[in-house]
């Protein structure tokens, strides 16, 4: 492929590629995101390729491995165009049938369709599935149709057209003005207005400026940045190029987590292709603008998602935050003006430039415009990535898109904003999604993890979990964060072990306030949030742990005892065989009992006991009933 030297070259290429795309040609898109790959989508793709070859369809059907479609719960996902027939949980065994029936004879295979668990209704078309129907997939949409390793696919859908528009029809100032008018706010967590951030960097003094992509997605339970980088790396690069042009930067960096190997590979492929086409390098599209990008891998430190820590890591140092001001816009990478944005923010830029700020700003609430990608995970029927317009209610996200809570359980709370965020209880579910709205409820938008919890999740344990995470990840620079969190973790652990005492909650609050006030970076400043927000809405659970020595959710090992109900036990030996510690005594036709000395309360017996017996019971806050006398333990089967 020859280098593109002018806007006309790009126009010609786009036209050529778009005309080659026959909308009527059957196409099989198989999700090859990390989630689906873990479920075996690679084998499915291979099976399609060999089957289509075998059936002599190779010239009539195109097989495409695409980025993440989002509906990770039901992977591997296969979509057949032009009908948009969506098959879920496809295995290589299903492939010959799909090839003969669906591709050749245009017949639908019923068993692979989505079935609504409530109504039993089947959906043939992808867009009829409730999970997709209520979304607005502006940023994430192309993931489904393009091969992330093909720059031609991206150009065919108009890719790099926004860059062309910026370079030839706009000045750096009008680009910034456009981003400001769109009211785009940073998608990484803090929600700072992107246009303003760019303006600071543009106005900063310095001959060398930098732009950086923050793909150090550390929040556990959030993976939209990974999926964007895996599924549509060119959109991130295009956004970065536009930003670099607006700010006046000639060098960029992508800081990417080493835990995301596929995202890294796809990014590197995309960069090589962009280089070849002349979107990276000198005199891009003959515009006179030059730009290069470097890739830096993170080495497993959560705090490096914080921008000043990220910059330190880029310089080959330990990722310890620096005091702000000076902000990176003044003194960033190597002490020069630097603008850092999150992956999803960069991905939004081409959209805004292409469609205009007004179109973007027409979606959303007063303070939060556009769409946001959330990862909807935890105890929810439809786990996956969802892109929704700002302003949608959390209830709609959970019930309309997420399909509610599985296994007949009750919703308890949802955690937003990762370890720095907070919990939102049932009565606040009608809250609109937006930066300010979530902030008011004591939580935050964060990077977009929505973790749903049901009645089995203990909120005290959850707070302990987050504080534990943050204790580990604190870089150790500020004492209130390093030592304060450690003490908070100790106290919370004690409470979950049933050793909580009067005054613990007050002490926790004090430690939390100190960390919030006296820490340098956002990690410490927000670290006590998980505790404070669970305390705000679930104080009764804390009190039950401390005063009644009871875990109402039956989750804290130190406060529960497993017990086998002798009237229900059918001596099936399942728990006896599976117990890893020899904690169950019994035999054939001999009612099982727990051996307290061996039992570690691991819960295996509870998990394996067949639901029709339900003999293993978890007790909390009540004494364990006395053991059944030895002579009554033989099970006598009643004959019918």
């Amino acid at each position: 492929m020859a280098r593109l030297n002018s806007r006309e070259d790009l126009d010609k290429l786009t036209e050529g590629l778009a005309s080659r795309n026959d909308p009527h040609m059957p196409r099989v898109s198989v999700c090859a995101g990390s989630g689906c790959l873990a479920c075996g989508s690679k084998e499915v793709i291979a099976a399609f390729e060999s089957e289509i070859d075998k059936q002599g369809l190779s010239t009539q059907v195109e097989v495409k491995s695409t980025g993440c479609h989002g509906f990770c719960e039901k992977g591997p996902i296969v979509v057949i165009d032009p009908e948009e027939t969506c098959y879920l949980q496809v295995t290589p065994k299903d492939v010959p049938e799909i090839a003969t029936q669906t591709l050749k004879d245009k017949q639908i295979i019923e068993r692979l369709l989505y079935v609504d668990p409530q109504t039993g209704e089947k959906s043939t078309n992808e867009n009829d599935i409730p999970f997709y129907k209520h979304q607005k997939r502006l940023v994430f949409g192309p993931n489904r149709t393009i091969n992330p390793r093909s720059i031609d696919d991206y150009i065919a859908i108009g890719g790099y057209g926004a860059l062309k528009k910026a370079l030839f029809d706009m000045t750096p100032d009008t680009v910034i003005e456009e981003i400001k008018t769109s009211k785009l706010r940073g998608r990484g967590g803090a929600g700072f207005p992107t246009g303003m951030k760019w303006e600071f960097a543009r106005k900063a003094q310095g001959d060398q400026k930098y732009v950086v992509v923050n793909c150090d997605e550390g929040d556990p339970g959030a993976y939209m940045d990974r999926s964007l980088m895996e599924g549509n790396p060119h959109s991130v690069l295009e956004g970065l190029l536009i930003g670099a042009y607006a700010i006046g930067a000639s060098i960029g960096a992508v800081y990417i987590r080493q835990e995301y190997p596929l995202a890294l590979q796809n990014l590197e492929v995309a960069m090589a292709q962009a280089q070849e086409y002349g979107f990276l390098g000198d005199n891009i599209l003959g515009s006179g603008f030059s730009f290069t990008v470097e890739v830096h891998r993170g080495a497993g430190a959560f705090v490096c998602g914080e921008e000043t820590a990220l910059l330190a890591s880029l310089e080959g140092l330990a990722g310890e935050p620096r005091p702000r001001p000076p902000f990176p816009a003044q003194k960033g990478w190597w002490g020069r003006p630097t603008n850092i944005n999150n992956v999803e923010t960069w991905s939004n830029i081409p959209l805004i430039i292409r469609d205009g700020a007004a179109a973007f700003a027409s979606i959303g609430t007063e303070g939060s415009k556009g769409t946001k990608i959330f990862s909807l995970v935890g105890k929810i029927a439809n786990t996956g990535l969802v892109e929704v317009p700002m302003g949608i209610t959390l209830r709609d996200v959970i019930y309309k898109i997420g399909g509610g809570i599985p296994d007949g359980k009750k919703f308890k709370a949802m955690q937003t904003g990762g370890p720095s965020g907070g919990c939102i209880p049932e009565h606040l579910l009608d809250l609109q999604v937006g930066f300010d709205e979530l902030g008011k409820a004591g939580s935050m938008m964060g990077s977009g993890g929505l973790i749903v919890m049901n009645e089995d999740t203990c909120m005290v344990d959850l707070a302990r979990y987050y504080i534990d995470f943050l204790t580990e990840e604190s870089c150790g620079k500020c004492v209130p964060c390093r030592e304060g969190l450690r003490q908070m973790h100790r106290i919370l652990t004690r409470i979950t072990e049933g050793k909580g005492k009067e005054g613990d909650l007050e002490l926790l609050e004090q430690l939390g306030e100190t960390a919030m006030e006296a820490s340098l970076c956002a990690l410490g400043k927000t670290a006590p949030n998980p505790f404070l927000s669970t305390l705000r809405y679930f104080r009764d659970e804390y009190e039950a742990h401390i005063h009644d020595k009871k875990c109402p959710s039956l989750a804290c090992k130190g406060l529960i005892t497993h017990w086998i109900d002798p009237t229900k036990c059918q001596a099936c030996m399942l728990c006896l065989k599976r117990c890893p510690t020899g904690g169950v005594d019994g035999g054939k036709k001999k009612i099982h009992v727990i051996v307290p000395d061996n039992c570690t309360q691991c819960g295996t017996c509870f998990e394996v006991c067949p639901p029709k017996y339900n003999a293993v019971i978890r007790l909390t806050g009540v004494p364990v009933p006395p053991p059944i006398p030895e002579d009554q333990r033989m099970l006598v089967k009643e004959t019918a």
């Binding site: 990390s34 989630g35 790959l37 873990a38 479920c39 990770c72 719960e73 992977g75 997605e217 550390g218 929040d219 556990p220 339970g221 959030a222 993976y223 990974r226 999926s227 080493q258 835990e259 995301y260 830096h296 891998r297 993170g298 080495a299 497993g300 430190a301 959560f302 890591s313 310089e315 080959g316 140092l317 330990a318 990722g319 990862s375 995970v377 935890g378 105890k379 786990t383 996956g384 955690q415 990762g418 993890g449 973790i451 919890m453 999740t457 959850l462 979990y465 987050y466 995470f469 990840e473 870089c475 599976r578 890893p580 510690t581 570690t600 691991c602 819960g603 295996t604 998990e607 394996v608």
Partner: protein, 150 residues
């Protein structure tokens, strides 16, 4: 042998001290740990004080200053996996291997580690053994998976 590996990787990054984190990542990947020998070679070639190298090698989780086992078991303890019972999976693996997270057994068979999120939240609880992902694990499943890597 190790020295050659280290030198090759340093050359790849043109001996730039600012690439230290990237260099350590590659050495860790090839040698599976950072021995004292490796660290002193790096200090010498890159002209970086040993104190700073140690600071970095202990700051980031991806680095290990002790040899890793033949089978690297990573249990995801991200929030989604946590609420779906990742700690129970971890408990069982701990019982079976006798290891606490972060430890390697004396025969160098297994290393047990936790990881904060693999982004496979739909499959939680998840564990990765030698790069292969195993999802939707019950405690019994986790034990079965581990047995396959003896």
């Amino acid at each position: 042998m190790t020295t050659e590996v280290v030198d090759r990787i340093i050359d790849k990054y043109h001996g730039k001290a600012s690439a230290l984190v990237q260099i350590l990542l590659e050495v860790q990947k090839e040698c599976r740990w950072l021995s004292a020998e490796v660290l002193s070679r790096l200090a010498e070639k890159l002209e970086i004080p040993m104190a700073r190298i140690k600071h970095i090698a202990t700051f980031y989780k991806a680095f290990s200053l002790v040899p890793k086992g033949r089978h690297e078991v990573h249990v995801c303890v991200g929030t989604a996996c946590h609420v779906r019972g990742a700690h129970r999976v971890l408990d069982v693996l701990g019982e079976l291997t006798g290891l606490a997270p972060g430890e390697t057994d004396q025969d160098l068979n297994y290393s047990l580690d936790t990881v904060n999120c693999l982004g496979c939240c739909a499959l939680g609880p998840v564990m990765v053994v030698d790069g292969d992902t195993h999802g939707k694990l019950s405690q019994a499943d986790a034990a079965r998976v581990l047995k396959r890597y003896e």
